[in-house]
Amino acid sequence: MSDERVSSWSEDELGVPGRVLLVVRAPEAVLSTVGVDVDPTAPETVQLAADLVATMRVSPGCVGLAAPQVGVAARVFCVDVTEHPKTRTGHGTFVLCNAEVVESSRNEKAREGCMSVPDFTGDVKRASRVVVSGALPGTGEIVTLTTDAFEARALQHEIDHCAGLLFLDRAAGAHAIYARKTYL
């Protein structure tokens, strides 16, 4: 049921236009700061959610964006992996507040990039099946979604951002970081 609710969600529900914000880059301190819990119904959270979606939309290749990436140390992120070829299960565009991974399994290693770390990519092992719980901005409904493959990876990457962690903090080893040669 929650999966359907998340799939049917769109930023139109927020009722405020999103603003395109500047995406900060490491070593900006906010990216290594543990985000605070938010009130998903608070107007500033709703505005932040709209801003995250708007900023994701204008950023080429961007499949997710977390509040610390726009300079706010808070546990809010948006995801939309719809267009990505590695996506199996997908829930369209959605924003989650105070999200947590509640179940995870089937670790797989894959190469990740990040708008906030534009010069590197890295091999990171993450669960390929997850159950994630969080609150929708605006209504504050608690939702639980089950997903896999690329959406599972994107969710874990964004939840890490909200905990002040970059993919660099999960690199598989000393030779698991690569200089990026092409930029999206």
């Binding site: 070593p27 290594s32 598989a172």
Partner: protein, 180 residues
């Protein structure tokens, strides 16, 4: 190039450093093959755009003979080649556990030395290390063997403390191996 050398084969450490261009590895390994040397372990990377290769090879030719064979590589002055005989090293016994350390933050002097000092203080052995600088971002990733007796929580706290003093972040986590 993969056959085992005889037990009596001498080992040589060879380094090739300098301006990168296509063909350096082909030329180097071609010379070594012509001498009948076996490549054992090798590593090559680009460091700030500079070609950097180290390898250990086994075989009967001496250092002087290898140097002479590799001399054309260094002829135009853009590459430096060194050859040195090295003893056979027996891998040390380790009852330790493998860890991966990431440190990243704004570039400043002393990040690497401060952090690895904390690793050395508890007898931790760094088995692989990469550092990169991109713009303002300095990144260190080290693979570390920590002795079984070490209190890993305390080591991580010590590393985080010195990292914090330098204004950088540090993460220490187990190097997981999935046996298939």
């Amino acid at each position: 190039m993969t056959s085992s050398p005889s037990a009596s084969a001498t080992l040589h450490a060879i380094t090739v450093l300098g301006h990168d261009r296509p063909g350096i590895i082909a030329e180097t390994t071609g010379c070594l093959a012509d001498l009948g040397l076996n490549l054992e372990d090798s590593t090559m990377t680009l460091l700030r755009g500079h070609f950097a290769m180290m390898l250990i090879c086994a075989g009967s030719p001496g250092a002087a003979e290898i140097e002479t064979a590799l001399a054309p590589l260094a002829q135009d002055g853009t590459l430096t080649v060194t050859v040195r005989e090295v003893p056979v090293e027996q891998p040390g016994f380790s009852d330790g556990t493998p860890w991966v350390l990431t440190v990243h933050g704004g570039d400043r002097a002393g990040i690497v030395s401060s952090v690895v000092t904390e690793v050395a203080r508890v007898g931790g052995n760094i088995t692989d290390l990469t550092t990169r600088l991109a713009g303002e971002l300095y990144l260190l990733i080290a693979e570390i063997d920590l002795p079984a007796s070490v209190d890993v929580t305390a080591v991580e706290a010590a590393i985080r403390s010195v990292a914090s003093d330098l204004g950088v972040g540090a993460t220490l986590r187990p190097a997981e191996t999935d046996e298939l």
